[in-house]
Amino acid sequence: MSSESNIEKVDNINSEERVSVASQGQLIWWRFRKHKLAVFSAILLLLLYLTTLFAEFFATSDPLESEAFRGLIQPQPIHFFDEGKLSPHVCAMEGTRDPYTYKKTYKPNCDKKTPVEFFTKGYEYEWLGLIPMDRHLIGVPEGYLAEEHIFLLGTDIQGRDMWSRIWVASRLSLSIGLVGVTLTLIFGISLGGISGFYGGFIDTIIQRIIEIIRAVPTIPLWMALSAAMPFSWSIVQIYFSITLIISLFAWTDLARVVRGRFLSLREEDFVTAAVLSGANERRIIFRHVMPSLYSHIIAAVSLAIPLMIISETALSFLGLGLQAPAISWGTLLQGTQNVQSVALYKWLMIPAFPVVGSILLFNFLGDGLRDAADPYSD
């Protein structure tokens, strides 16, 4: 018998069989697709991130423009019809001061209507800090007073429009997660990888460092580090220091996972096979070990991003993170720090919804991803 005849015998059956030639990515995708909730979350998140690029376009008025005489206006609904005709408008808010408490209260007065226009010209901004633009999705025509504006979600104490501020804030808050995760990945993978691949003395040192970092209570250290930031720093500088501080803790988890995988992969037969065929270390790490880590990295990232968003919100809320005039969900929520505002000006708590919402979405997405990410698990 020759090996020729052997070929036919072994393979004629399998040629009929439609065996897949799916790569890792495809397998992950097929599995991921089955998680409806995760796919839905992924789409929403994608949209959310896209819209943050156009935050000013969605804003109705300049988020920084404060007018004392229009402070704490409650949310104003848009009326689409006017006496049976389509003509979107809002009713003007008329403020009266309570003679006893000196508190200003607003009432809608539907006799004075402010028309609402779409794709209207509004305040001027620089899109992505580059291109000067003045178009907005909704707005009021030129020539109306500052208090005759449209306040979809009301205004804060300084009369700044909440709707516009939340949109602009989402840019900082959502991006801090991405930047932080990138830093986490860089630290986690490189240090964890070195630790696991080389082992020995380096490994011991890195492991001790991780243990020390993890032993320090998080909140006090955050507070100390944030307090150490000079007041003179610009928003951008503070922003980056905050992400750095947040990712300082997050990388240790990833580093441990990566180290563990490196240690076990080093013993895998396919890695030994590559070593025995003469592959050098670079090839072993980048062709064999790293691709096996993707699923773990995806899992780690899907956990880390929401953690970062929450951390930033918490820090800023406490006044330790970003500071006004920077706008993030955390700084917006600072306005709710007293009981009075919670009781009387409930709309000030609206920025909590995007925080909760985006974190839920990330968690749903993460569940699906973690499940799909290891197509070779069975």
Partner: protein, 343 residues
């Protein structure tokens, strides 16, 4: 062996499986893991089930205890258990999967020995304690009696240093010792049937030989039936009285061990037997092989599942027109009807 044969002949089997079908409803499609398997287990005898990896041996035997994993379901067939001559027959397929009836059968009447004992012992308790718990549960004994019985079983399975081993954790035992502990656990409640799912595959030959001898000895003492699953025909020849050959979810041939090895009728059985290397073979001789490979369970051929590997199928069979069904060609020797004449 011949003595045993004559004695058993007329008795009703202690367990009969008829047309068992177990399907796994996965996202990729339905995997027909077991598709109409039938076999009988006779009291006090060992039934060997052989077949290649993935043919459904484990799934078929685990369904006897209703232990089929989650996307899997018994979709058809019956499993009749006749544990006691005076009690009435139990149809295991009609029991609830987590009811008290099946729980009293599991471990008490029918017990399982796994290939990898490490996974069936919990690593956080000593082996002794785990067996004591099992005895307490099934035999309603107090702790001291259960302990005494466990020690007794450790001695019977030939565990070296039984007192000391009882206080050790599973991972502190060698592979052979773990398998002995597993056997002690499976037998401690005097089951009528022991299902041994590849109990020696992970062991080396010398340890395997000891475990096989041990099982045979214990069977002689207790008179239990053994269902022994393996893909090693050497082991089958060594331990079984009757053999069922399984291929892609069906039993294709079943007979006494002597018949299977000396006058096999099904081409698959013949093929398997021919492809075993043997010490008595001529050195460096090429082994005859079964041509082709097992189809994926997702696309089972219609009709006879073996037809695309068969050397000379009949025309009807080649086209998948003949259904699979065991027929008796000589007393006690059953062969799938398509392949009676093509072996």
């Amino acid at each position: 062996m011949t003595k045993k044969n004559t004695k058993i002949e007329k008795q009703k089997p202690i367990l009969s499986v008829n047309g068992l079908k177990v399907h796994f409803f996965t996202d990729e499609g339905t995997v027909k893991a077991v598709e109409g398997a039938s076999f009988d287990v006779l009291a006090g005898r060992t039934l060997g089930i052989v077949g290649e990896s993935g043919c459904g041996k484990s799934v078929a035997t685990r369904s006897l205890l209703r232990l089929v994993d989650s996307p899997g379901k018994i979709v058809d067939g019956e499993i009749i258990y006749r544990g006691d001559a005076n009690k009435k027959e139990i149809n295991i397929t009609s029991l609830k999967t987590s009811g008290s009836d099946i729980k009293s059968i599991r471990g008490g009447e029918i017990s399982l020995i796994f290939q990898e004992p490490m996974t069936s012992f919990s690593p956080v308790h000593t082996v002794g304690n785990q067996i004591i718990e099992a005895i307490k549960l099934h035999k309603k004994l107090n702790k001291d009696d259960a302990k005494g019985l466990t020690l007794d079983w450790f001695k019977r399975v030939g565990m070296p240093d039984p007192e000391q081993r009882m206080n050790q954790y599973p991972w502190q035992l060698s592979g052979g010792q773990r398998q002995r502990a597993m056997i002690a656990m499976a037998l401690c409640c005097d089951p009528k049937i022991v299902i041994a799912d590849e109990p020696t595959t992970a062991l080396d030959v010398t340890t395997q030989a000891q475990i096989l001898d041990l099982l045979k000895e214990l069977q002689e003492e207790n008179g239990m039936s053994i269902i022994f699953i393996t893909h090693d025909l050497g082991v089958i020849a060594e331990i079984s009285d009757d053999v069922s050959v399984m291929y892609l979810g069906n039993i294709v041939e079943s007979a006494s061990v002597d018949e299977i090895f000396h006058s096999p009728k099904h081409p698959y059985t013949t093929g398997l037997l021919n492809s075993i290397p043997s010490i008595t073979n001529k050195n460096r001789e090429r082994l005859p092989t079964i041509s082709g490979s097992i189809p994926h369970p997702h696309n089972r051929p219609s009709g006879c599942t073996f037809r695309n590997r068969c050397q000379n199928p009949s025309d009807d069979c080649r086209e998948g027109k003949i259904e699979m069904k065991l027929i008796e060609v000589s007393p006690g020797h059953f062969v799938d009807q398509c392949c009676i004449n093509c072996g």
